[in-house]
Assembly symmetry: D3
Homo-oligomer: 333 residues x 6
Amino acid sequence: MTANADDARRERLARFRPASGMETPRFSGLASFMRLPVLAPEAAPGAVEIGLIGIPFDGTTTNRPGARLGPRAVREASTGTRALNHATGIAPYALAACADLGDVPVNPVDAAETDRRIEAFYRPLAEAGLVPLSVGGDHFVSFPILRALGAGRPLGLIHIDAHSDTDDSQYGGSRLTHGTPFRRAVEAGVLDPRRCVQIGIRGSMDAADERDWAKDRGIRIVEMEEVCARGLPEVAAEARAVVGDAPAYLSFDIDALDPAFAPGTGTPEIGGFTTREALHLLRALRGLDLVGADLVEVAPPLDAGGVTALAGAGLLFEILCLLAERVAARAAA
Amino acid sequence: MTANADDARRERLARFRPASGMETPRFSGLASFMRLPVLAPEAAPGAVEIGLIGIPFDGTTTNRPGARLGPRAVREASTGTRALNHATGIAPYALAACADLGDVPVNPVDAAETDRRIEAFYRPLAEAGLVPLSVGGDHFVSFPILRALGAGRPLGLIHIDAHSDTDDSQYGGSRLTHGTPFRRAVEAGVLDPRRCVQIGIRGSMDAADERDWAKDRGIRIVEMEEVCARGLPEVAAEARAVVGDAPAYLSFDIDALDPAFAPGTGTPEIGGFTTREALHLLRALRGLDLVGADLVEVAPPLDAGGVTALAGAGLLFEILCLLAERVAARAAA
Amino acid sequence: MTANADDARRERLARFRPASGMETPRFSGLASFMRLPVLAPEAAPGAVEIGLIGIPFDGTTTNRPGARLGPRAVREASTGTRALNHATGIAPYALAACADLGDVPVNPVDAAETDRRIEAFYRPLAEAGLVPLSVGGDHFVSFPILRALGAGRPLGLIHIDAHSDTDDSQYGGSRLTHGTPFRRAVEAGVLDPRRCVQIGIRGSMDAADERDWAKDRGIRIVEMEEVCARGLPEVAAEARAVVGDAPAYLSFDIDALDPAFAPGTGTPEIGGFTTREALHLLRALRGLDLVGADLVEVAPPLDAGGVTALAGAGLLFEILCLLAERVAARAAA
Amino acid sequence: MTANADDARRERLARFRPASGMETPRFSGLASFMRLPVLAPEAAPGAVEIGLIGIPFDGTTTNRPGARLGPRAVREASTGTRALNHATGIAPYALAACADLGDVPVNPVDAAETDRRIEAFYRPLAEAGLVPLSVGGDHFVSFPILRALGAGRPLGLIHIDAHSDTDDSQYGGSRLTHGTPFRRAVEAGVLDPRRCVQIGIRGSMDAADERDWAKDRGIRIVEMEEVCARGLPEVAAEARAVVGDAPAYLSFDIDALDPAFAPGTGTPEIGGFTTREALHLLRALRGLDLVGADLVEVAPPLDAGGVTALAGAGLLFEILCLLAERVAARAAA
Amino acid sequence: MTANADDARRERLARFRPASGMETPRFSGLASFMRLPVLAPEAAPGAVEIGLIGIPFDGTTTNRPGARLGPRAVREASTGTRALNHATGIAPYALAACADLGDVPVNPVDAAETDRRIEAFYRPLAEAGLVPLSVGGDHFVSFPILRALGAGRPLGLIHIDAHSDTDDSQYGGSRLTHGTPFRRAVEAGVLDPRRCVQIGIRGSMDAADERDWAKDRGIRIVEMEEVCARGLPEVAAEARAVVGDAPAYLSFDIDALDPAFAPGTGTPEIGGFTTREALHLLRALRGLDLVGADLVEVAPPLDAGGVTALAGAGLLFEILCLLAERVAARAAA
Amino acid sequence: MTANADDARRERLARFRPASGMETPRFSGLASFMRLPVLAPEAAPGAVEIGLIGIPFDGTTTNRPGARLGPRAVREASTGTRALNHATGIAPYALAACADLGDVPVNPVDAAETDRRIEAFYRPLAEAGLVPLSVGGDHFVSFPILRALGAGRPLGLIHIDAHSDTDDSQYGGSRLTHGTPFRRAVEAGVLDPRRCVQIGIRGSMDAADERDWAKDRGIRIVEMEEVCARGLPEVAAEARAVVGDAPAYLSFDIDALDPAFAPGTGTPEIGGFTTREALHLLRALRGLDLVGADLVEVAPPLDAGGVTALAGAGLLFEILCLLAERVAARAAA
């Protein structure tokens, strides 16, 4: 970087960072993600490097709804996060200029239309090289995001979830549901299945062959039992190997957590991750070439004591640290 | 009726009635509507006269979702109702054979398909003269029901609600939402707008002309303020006059109640009915030629202390009394 | 009273009154009823004139349980009440020495044994002329209390409730349930049915003849619909006339309130009293010769936002005012 | 107004109005008050005429805390309000340019410092003639607001509340609590007690003389019992007469509502207003020369089903209509 | 089996299996256990091999009540389970014909009578060789079930719980409580104490000798601390050894789980199992000759976010897999 | 001890112990800590050895409030604990006479005054050698307690928490907050920083240097990640070594637990301790010379299902066992 560019970057970093909780209380002010400045998406390219985006859509939920209210609840809970990751030492806002880009203008009663709108929202951001960190909404939203981010170069995927979400269709032919995004994304050529890994999959199944499609295409599924048997470090190492050095996406479904840690989600499955394990898993993913990430399926009306939104916000910060470190590495390159 | 027919009817009445709470506790057993026997819909014609039906669909909700979980919650709460209306003296199960016909097989991610399935579910029941009492689900479900019940004879309508639900479209063209069913039904010719009355309408409006369409077609809108000013008896009398003696439908949106009485709904509006007022209003409708009714928009994840489901169940019993009295009158005719 | 007796009374009044909320916050300290001193029941005669007593028993509940936890929740909520009734001007603690006498030592799994223990707890208090104000527990507890208070002189009764609680038996012969206390009390000769009035009765009934027993014995039942039609002042006046000047008991079942005001109860019925109406009704009962009272059926696990315990505590204070005024009148006589 | 000024005003009105719920769903986007644009307070004078402001402070609460979280919860609930008052026909955003000015930078652990900060926040707005509509926080916040708005001209006051909030001190001398703001404001000469009216006061009292100070200074206290006896229209008429035509302030404590309608508040008192009554009362205040208003004591952690925040948001819209109509009248003058 | 018998079995398996969640949503339809067909108990012998049964009774609860509402809540939550155990590969409905047999007709106010009714309900099922999987209700219900199943052949027992439930009596002589079932069952000769193992026992004790009776009779108690120290595999292996190859019963008290995973229970004890551990423990019990099982003490009114019912449903499915595998093994033998 | 002293002690032990849950149910009676006798603090010296004390103050909370309601909620939950620690065998009430000494008379709106009152409350107890076990309130309360207990002899500290609570000031100079107590205590010379250890610290930080002050003074901070890496036994051993044999204090902030186990606290941080780990950690501290302890930051309005108060009560019992064992050791010395 030239000195001028460097100065400009420093200025942006100084401007696009959260309000401090040592000066005004964290519960004060409008609830933007991490108390970050709010920026219109069209103003983001050139100004910020990471954009936090809400997608308040749950119109493809096949079970209990409510994830459309997730972005607001995660925003609210995220105002409790601070500037520095105590465990990894990453200070994300010193590494990347960040802003809250608001919500995608979804149509709650039209999934196909919303699918198009999401892709249209992300495409210019992707083309500008901005790294989006999205909060759902149900898991379907990953599909149009991936179409924007993976256009022209199939991405790798770290997918942390209780469910594989690679169904073909449900209810006699519905193909756009929150159980199908990754199958659709592979079919669309924006995910490279051999560079995809799913971690924490569990729960009873509808049929013995329901994961065959994914396995046949080379998607690596690490069920929760395998995680327990082998331990997180080994699983994380394998996940990194599967994804490799090429660009990749990270998708975290909050139902990967156990319902005690995340009751507020539409399709909870007992026997899941603790938040401590999830933090360890995410921290083990440092250095991957992540070009975007999402956190989905936080359904506030089903929550208890706000722990799901709180867990979502904490994991969002952890993911943000991964993205910011990567942004800084690219800026330094 | 012949003596034999009379015997058969008596036998059906004895069979299709609720389990008694004096013999087994009300909280025991599977939660069917009113602890009634469960009957497959195809077995209902000829066996029962009133069918209670759940429609667990909220895919056209434009606000907070959750009404898809309404039928189960209302079933559960309805097990606390008993056999005799203490205020009107109506003993519905002595007047009409009733059963729980289960739920319509909805597709939670496809409104158009669900629209077809609902109509297909109700059409044979309507053709057999069975009176359906439905529990939503969001308010959209009234439209396909009305198509089945009003085919060939536009119905009158008593519509108790905070919202007029006669929007044309939302979000740039979506015409099948829970804000449009009665406009669609008028357009489809299954509602006679001049025999329609809406009671309890209130809440801020998007635009000054949003009720013009309804008024232009002759729908009588009694806003909550007019109810307060004139009193329920007078309003009820006018409503009866508007609807007249011809066949009519009754639709009760739980958000007609004040949020203190029904917090568990997607679009609550303060300043609503108390349950006592709602009971009085319903009781004032005895004698109308009701051919069906529904209770919609109970959204259990948004409820507090179960009062919304409880109110829904209590009102459902009251509506059932209206229907049963009418069934008996027809049987006696 | 002699001067000495007067001094002793003044001293007792100064000692047995609540801690002030202007000196220490109302949420501080152990939660006794009204922040009153706690006194062992055996020490109460001669020391205090009104004893507040908990009966944490719900073993005869035929519906949803939880009222066993009522005394603690009402104690907690009652710490928010203050020293003076703003509407009637009654300052109860200036009129009668009051204390929290703790809970009756119930046996949660044995109704018959608990029945005996309750009577044994109240009999010495009754013999000493102490006025008990009890908090249930389910409504069954009124029966043993009435045996203690009404021994030798059948009492009149003001009974405010959604249910008549004069069933004979349930589930094939169970005669000690929360649906039977007043029938048992009449049979036991401790209630004079012709001096009993029940106000607010409502809700669907199991059978058309279920109130015949009560009516046949002369119990006056004022259903909620009659309350609405005639107005509270007229109903209260009639109630006073029914009970007359002789000793009487007041029993308030929290389910007399509408579920919006009291969701935390086992058998809620929609269409009930508001708290404002309940306060007006109680205030209209001044001057009756009340020898005791109870507030029952607060079930905290079923509550929402604590409004039921709060309503219970507010009504308890109102009842306490009635009792204290009567105690003072007797002391002055 | 000149044509240019008129154009500028029209432009401001077009710019500073809520996002429409017919285009994007109400649950989407950051939760600003009424989905209004967010504006820094220093940019407000000259741009907008009404500023909605949060004051997340509950450090002087003597009972249950939580009102510091009120602004965010009311913002969230207020996104459900729309553009037109169906009852009065007022379209506030067509009458006055409105924006969300964010929160006052309170110090949660220092009441005296916060008191200064609030006044400093409001003083320039007041001097610019901007009309502030504030959301607490506890009731103490009214005092510094009144110092800013009433400087140099004592204001009249419409105060709707369960409590008079004119205590002198608590806990041995603390004079800045949420029980003292209006006494402090009268002492500070920014309220004219003879033009003050308090409506809905109720609940037990600590001492018989606790309202003497207020009455001695000429404050008109209309207790809830008087409201019930005389009716809202008559009470509202008297209130208007007391306040007169001179500038006045409106303060609405959410605990004026009954706990069934507003459980989420620190010091609830049973027997309060319904939301319907509160709406009617507010609508009867049209035409008063209001220079500001607040809505206080919404405590989300104590809420149930969100009904308190919902009621707060609905009443806030109603108050906004009063203010906007007044702003338009002044602009037209 | 003969070819005919095999055909009949196949037909029964095809008929008595859950509705699929790929065809109709899991939240639709009446909530039977696992969305299984409902069958009258008298029709079960010969038709199904495993009967799921509710026992809505908590009349012997010595602590917080609510478990009487457990069967309905577990039914509701169980509709989210699917057809195949992803960890063990067991497809229970392919191995055993299953149905929901409804609830035992309990008497909520009479424990002795309910004790008789439960035994009477189970005896014909036991005699027909049907395997009952029961959902309580409080833990007392295990005693009459064991009398039916263990008549003539004392059973072994796997008992997973926080409490030993081998008290002699409470409150001065009450012997039928939820703290005594296994002592009563040993005394009745239907449990062989030397083949009984209790796992997860923890929490403070009333007296140092309270587990002496159990230990003296040879019951193996593995306290939670021993589980932690030795690990689940070793404990499970010992449990299998204790129980041996003879017929045994499995009883799972939900309070074996930690309150974070199961807050909705009457007597929670911190420091319990996670659901993941419980799943592992159950899976380690494959092959035992289980003749029945129960899951007890889910108390919905005490739950938060439904996680207790959800955990109960998930564990119920896991237990069902154990039973189904055993049924198939017997059928194949 | 002489025989007489021994007798007196035995008598005190017999008198100052909890009511048994085998005689009266645990949910009955006023909720004192552990169902212990209540004793005025001035009567405690000479009568009891351990005093349980509530401090209902949260006026220095910088985040979400509610901990002022902690003492009552923990009292209520603590009535479920029993007499004997099943894991360690400690029977605390046989080792030390214990009583509930009520609450410190705090001033909720004045931190400085409350600070003085707390110290004044504890000083005579400390001088009499009584061991206080306190329940907050927010963490600030530890500072005045430590001034009373550590006067003249700086204490060691075991501090289990998510936060270090050694900030200097917040919001431009506020030095008395719940984020500063241990810095103030070191400055005041009542804590010896080289004998202080903090365990479980985690969560994002405001600045990289925010723990430098503590580390510079020699406070040993064991972050949660180090706990996970090294294991609890090793960490506990080091903690014992740091504190040594001299008098020490134990402070347990409930937010040390994960939010799944303790959602009801003002500043939750994901990735915390399970209750099982916390129990193990506490049990590993046997033998330290503890002169007092506290459990803080339980905020009931933020709780879900009561699990936080339950965890608090269970940990309180565990801490009580540590203190009682120490009291007995001193008495025996």
